[in-house]
């Protein structure tokens, strides 16, 4: 009987060696190791042997079974691996096909800029406030140290609300479409919560419509008020914003200027990225900047009259304010070079989906 088992083993191992396909593998499993396979059938014959012969042959049978099973397992591993390889050899795709664009939407460039600006100021403790976009001229001008008929008001090209030849008026003067976000300054002070570190970003309106100026645009206004706020701190905040938003290699400068609602007042310039502040590109004059500098916006120390209008004692509190255009700021960084700023608000999806 032992020989029968050993022969079966030899045969099975020889068959296994030749197996190439999954089908052959399964057929061989059924034939040798199946429930009614040849090994099982042969083992049934053990029952007919006497005790000692059965014990002897049984041991052989078990050895053979283990050997055949192990061999089968190795064969199976070999064949499966081979089959996977063969399948991979069959399977192919064109990896040069273009990617499918995910069906996400697009937040407008201006919104993206507003979010970025807000976040930068948030890092240094500024919170975002909301103020009216249609306001009393008291907040847009008077409270900002610009009395009625002051020539400085001309610089704002203001839209008024009203019709039939009459400007709408009410408790705090005429109603205007606010020409700057500075109308939020005294409103913020009136809340009576000190100290103040605010950014207010909103729509502004001016009577102008050119390739560089829009009748509706956005400004962001910064206001910090506390005891002992200094010019050097305004410089620090401005520097921080510019380096975060435009890049660490950009230089900044404050240049004297005049605004009625700040004293001292300055304009904030940043070094030009096109000529790196040298004012020259390939030996010729840089077309983008003025002498290597780009004008970003206005700023200054809050005028004592403005603090008074906000109910604060200028002997106790000082502060600074700054404000400039979101669109302008964003165009100065992004290098998107939109020739005509009006493109921003034409709502052409082919444009909007680029960002």
């Amino acid at each position: 009987m032992n020989d029968v088992f050993l022969q079966l083993q030899q045969e099975a191992l020889a068959v296994f060696l030749k197996i190439q396909t999954l089908e052959e593998l399964e057929a061989a499993r059924v034939e040798y190791l199946g429930r009614k396979g040849r090994l099982a059938e042969t083992m049934k014959e053990l029952a007919a042997l006497d005790e000692s012969a059965r014990r002897d042959a049984g041991k052989t049978a078990n050895d053979v079974k283990r050997t055949v099973e192990a061999s089968f397992a190795a064969t199976e591993a070999r064949v499966v691996a081979g089959a996977a390889e063969a399948r991979q050899a069959q399977e192919w795709l064109d990896v040069s096909l273009p990617g499918t664009v995910p069906a996400v939407g697009h937040v407008h460039l201006t919104t993206q800029a507003i979010d970025e600006i807000t976040n930068i100021f948030r890092h240094i403790g500024f919170v975002r406030s909301r103020h009216p976009e249609v306001d009393w001229d008291y907040y847009a001008f008077e409270s900002l140290n610009m009395p009625k008929d002051h020539p400085a008001r001309d610089e704002w090209e203001t839209f008024f609300v009203g019709e039939n030849g009459e400007v709408a008026t009410g408790e705090k003067g005429k109603i205007v479409l606010t020409p700057h976000t500075s109308n939020g300054q005294v409103r913020e002070m009136e809340k009576g919560e000190l100290p103040i570190r605010m950014v207010s970003i909103g729509k502004c309106y001016r009577r102008q419509a050119t390739a560089r100026h829009l009748p509706m645009f956005h400004q962001f206004e910064g206001l910090m008020i506390d005891k002992h706020v200094t010019v050097t701190e305004l410089k620090g905040v401005f520097d921080y914003f510019v380096k975060r938003y435009f890049g660490a290699n950009r230089e900044t400068r404050l240049r004297p200027f005049h605004f009625r609602f700040t004293e001292p007042s300055f304009e904030l310039d940043i070094s030009c990225a096109v000529c790196n502040g040298t004012a020259k590109v390939d030996g010729a004059k840089c077309k983008l900047c003025k002498g290597g500098w780009l004008e970003l916006g206005g700023a200054g120390m809050v005028h004592p009259n403005v603090l008074k209008a906000g109910g604060l004692d200028p002997n106790e509190y000082t502060g600074f304010a700054f404000g400039w255009g979101v669109e302008r700021t964003m165009m100065m960084r992004s290098g998107i070079n939109i020739d005509d700023i009006r493109t921003l608000y034409k709502n052409d999806l082919r444009f909007l989906k680029q960002f």
Binding site: P151, F160, P195, M198, F257, P264
Partner: protein, 794 residues
């Protein structure tokens, strides 16, 4: 306002030798912004003085002649069309390589040696406009005759011959500093900003002679001071070249020496003046008075204006002569025939000038300065300077000098505290340095007991309003660029971010992640936009002074803007998901408008109305779930603006907060949109107070859930809501019922639809057996048959 300032001229009043570039940089950092630098000499390269030796006809052209011109290095032929070309004439010759503008056109080109109609021409004999002097008077087709302008020898470079080797700064002067609109003011600033001694201008004293009997009557309080000087025996002619040149480089046009002198004084001192021809003044009487109804005046520029009492005029005994401080009259100005001149130097009320100029739409350099506020103390110097110049240039003698100044000003004084200056700036600038800066700028320091006072110089009277202004003077002259940048180390602010703005930003990001792209439209819309959407302009805030008829009202709803944008896009982008989130402005009589944050989002161009609607509703439901609120929807069958069968109102906690559905076809058509537009309009302002980021955790089910799909045939107009209610009512084990598929097709009878429902069952305490599930589903099927007339398919 800007001034074109000659660096050579500035240097006559401040001792400095630094380069123009260096000057511009330092001046910009501490004083006024130099916006551009123009080296005039560079324009005149390869240009020389020539003398015409002979003129001959051109063989091939009637209008051209051939001049032989001595240019120093030799005699060259130049073809020229100038009608005034003559032998011995001193001419402006541009040689090959020079940059010129043909016939004064816009483009500069480089001259080349050329053959013109077969005759060689070495360069060009120029007219003033061809070399940039557009404002030099010169007849049509004439060339510039340099005789009387320069006697430089032939071949002398033009920059030298015309003394134009100068640098012109274009400087932006801030509106508070009219004193810097003159060379003297700039030099005074430069002495501190750039360094160097300030050299004050000296004028001869004004002395009068035998009176001509001219009198001045001040009958309008809006004129604070009026000075006049009468000069007789003048001979009016062209100004000398040195004066013309300074006017030209500053962008002004030379007229005659009298007018030029007033403009020269304007450039030098920033004080506008006027000159009258005494012979045009009736009864030798000058009156400053309000205009009268019915009067009119023809101005220098030819424009006729009607007068009234709001306008201040200079008049004689009979008629108005000039608009005070704005512009002279056509008939009273000086001409080449004038022999007696009356110079006027006066101070007029800034606001009156400003209002009158606006009302009459007249602008001038004088008016621009007067409306900024000028000091009466500036008049004697300006008048003396003008008289000095007229005697020098046009001869004559002074007869009358008149000064009417009823209430002289008292100089302004404010306390000066160097410690406060330091604390506002944040830099320890010593007392002495502060005082030095202010003194050089003309401020005068006095001790008044314990207080230090600063007296404001007259030329800064309108600008300096208080102690805080000293901080600016010290800070800017110390130099902002010299100060450190320090991040605030003080307390954090007392308030927090405005939550509505946070939620608005969140909503935009949410919609973008859901596939919607953001529109951003002008808040100003037209009457027709409103009317096309059935909104009466009366319900919108009207702009009093609109820029155009397209932008007359502040929108009370976002939908017209969105529809307009869809119309613009539909041809190129056939279908899209879009949104706009913005404040709208809702009028309140006598009050500020309500600024309500609104959201409109939706889809246009989609083919399947049902799917589109479900998607929008799905976005709303998911939006609500993510922001801690819940919406319910109710069919809207009445709203005019929306499709009556395809629209639902959106409610939050019983309050109507929006609408979702198909835009009414009338409105779609009126905007020219070809395919259905589905929108949701949500009043975010009503939601903001309830939105929150907190989420509740729900324990995951402990036992398996079972889902059974059934296909149900029902009437087309059976609301799904009703079906769900029936299913959910059929047993406590049912936890959910969703739509798996909606189908209408061949096997489905007309007026019916097949709704495949996915019913989810679960027990919280055990695993369900298939018997449990079968039992519940049998009830579901029975109830559906009973209550919604539903038949199970297949």
């Amino acid at each position: 306002m800007n001034i074109l300032a000659s660096y050579n001229w500035i240097k006559e009043h401040v001792k400095t030798n630094i380069s123009a570039e260096e000057f511009a940089k330092e001046f910009s950092l501490r004083s006024m912004s130099v916006e551009s630098i123009d080296h005039c000499g560079a324009h005149f390269e390869k240009m020389v003085v020539g003398v015409v030796q002979s003129v001959a006809a051109h063989p091939n052209a009637d209008r051209l002649r051939v001049a032989m011109v001595d240019i120093g290095e030799g005699v060259v032929p130049i073809v020229c069309g100038g009608t005034n070309l003559a032998e011995k004439m001193r001419v402006f010759v541009a040689l090959p390589g020079a940059r010129v503008r043909w016939h004064g056109g816009a483009d500069w080109t480089t001259l080349e040696q050329a053959s013109i109609r077969g005759v060689d021409s070495v360069g060009m004999i120029c007219a003033p406009a061809e070399v940039g002097f557009d404002k030099v008077a010169c007849g049509d087709h004439e060339i510039w005759d340099l005789s009387g302008i320069t006697d430089a020898s032939v071949g002398t470079p033009i920059a030298q011959a015309l003394d134009c080797d100068d640098t012109i700064f274009d400087i932006e002067i801030t509106t508070n500093r009219p004193d810097a609109m003159g060379i003297i003011g700039l030099a005074r600033e430069a002495a501190v900003a750039v360094g160097g001694e300030f050299l004050q201008m000296r004028t001869l004293p004004l002395t009068k002679g035998e009176s001509e009997g001219v009198s001045v009557r001040l009958e309008d309080k809006r004129c604070e001071r009026y000075m006049a000087a009468v000069v007789t025996g003048v001979s009016v002619q062209k100004s000398p070249w040195w004066m013309q040149k300074r006017l030209l480089l500053a962008g002004l046009k030379p007229i005659n020496c009298i007018v030029d002198i007033t403009n020269y004084v304007l450039l030098e001192l920033g004080q506008p003046m006027h000159a009258f021809d005494a012979s045009s003044i009736a009864q030798n009487t000058i009156m400053v008075r309000p205009g009268k109804e019915g009067e009119s005046l023809t101005l220098l520029d030819g424009k006729a204006v009607k007068l009234d009492s709001s306008i201040m005029v200079i008049a004689d005994a009979e008629k108005p002569l000039a608009l005070a401080g704005i512009m002279g009259g056509k008939d009273s100005g000086t001409t080449m025939k004038t022999t007696t001149v009356i110079f006027e130097a006066a101070t007029f009320d800034a606001l009156t000038i400003r209002r009158s100029a606006r009302a009459m739409d007249v602008a001038s350099d004088a008016q621009l300065l007067f409306e900024k506020g000028l000091s009466p103390s500036a008049l004697p110097v300006a008048l003396a300077r003008a008289v000095e110049l007229v005697i020098q240039i046009a001869g004559g003698t002074v007869t009358d000098v008149i000064d009417v100044y009823p209430t002289p000003r008292i100089p302004k004084r404010f306390p000066f505290n160097p410690e406060r200056v330091r604390s506002r700036i944040g830099v320890a600038i010593p007392d002495a340095e502060q005082v030095n800066i202010l003194t050089k700028l003309g401020f005068d320091l006095q001790k008044d007991g314990d207080t230090t006072m600063m007296t404001v110089p007259y030329w800064r009277e309108d600008d300096i309003e208080g102690e805080v202004d000293f901080t600016e003077e010290v800070a800017r002259m110390y130099g902002y660029h010299m100060m450190p940048a320090v991040l605030p180390a003080s307390r954090p602010p007392a308030s927090f971010d405005d939550a509505t703005l946070d939620w608005a930003a969140w909503t935009k990001r949410f919609l973008a992640s859901a596939g919607f792209s953001e529109f951003f439209s002008n808040s100003m819309v037209s009457v027709s936009d409103l009317e096309m959407y059935g909104v009466s302009p009366k319900d919108a805030l009207a702009v009093f002074n609109p820029l155009s008829t397209d932008l007359t009202h502040m929108r009370p709803t976002l939908i017209p803007s969105v529809l307009r944008a869809i119309e613009r896009n539909q041809a190129l982008t056939h279908t899209a998901s879009i949104f706009e989130l913005s404040r709208v402005y809702l009028p309140h009589e006598g009050q500020l408008p309500e600024e309500r944050m609104m959201l409109v989002f939706g889809e246009y161009g989609g083919a399947d109305a049902e799917k589109t609607f479900m998607r929008l509703r799905g976005v709303l439901e998911y939006f609500a779930a993510k922001s801690g609120i819940a919406f319910t929807f109710e069919r809207d069958g009445e709203n005019d603006h929306w499709h009556s069968g395809r629209t639902a109102f959106v409610f939050r906690n019983g309050e109507r907060v929006g609408i979702v559905g198909q835009v009414g076809s009338d409105f779609q058509t009126s905007f020219g949109i070809h395919r259905p537009v589905f929108l949701a309009e949500i009043n975010l302002e009503a939601l903001f107070p309830h939105m929150k980021h907190t989420h509740r955790y729900e324990a995951l089910p402990a036992f398996p859930v079972v889902t059974r799909d059934i296909a149900l045939l029902v009437d087309e107009r059976t609301d799904f809501e009703k079906i769900v209610a029936v299913v959910r009512g059929a047993g406590a084990l049912i936890t959910d019922c969703r739509v798996v598929e909606l189908y209408r097709g061949e096997e489905i009878p007309a007026g019916k639809k097949s709704v495949t429902l996915g019913v989810t069952l679960m027990a919280s305490d055990r695993t369900l057996t298939s018997q449990d599930v079968d039992d519940v589903m049998a009830t579901v099927i029975r109830e559906l048959a009973l209550r919604v007339d539903g038949v199970i398919r297949g």
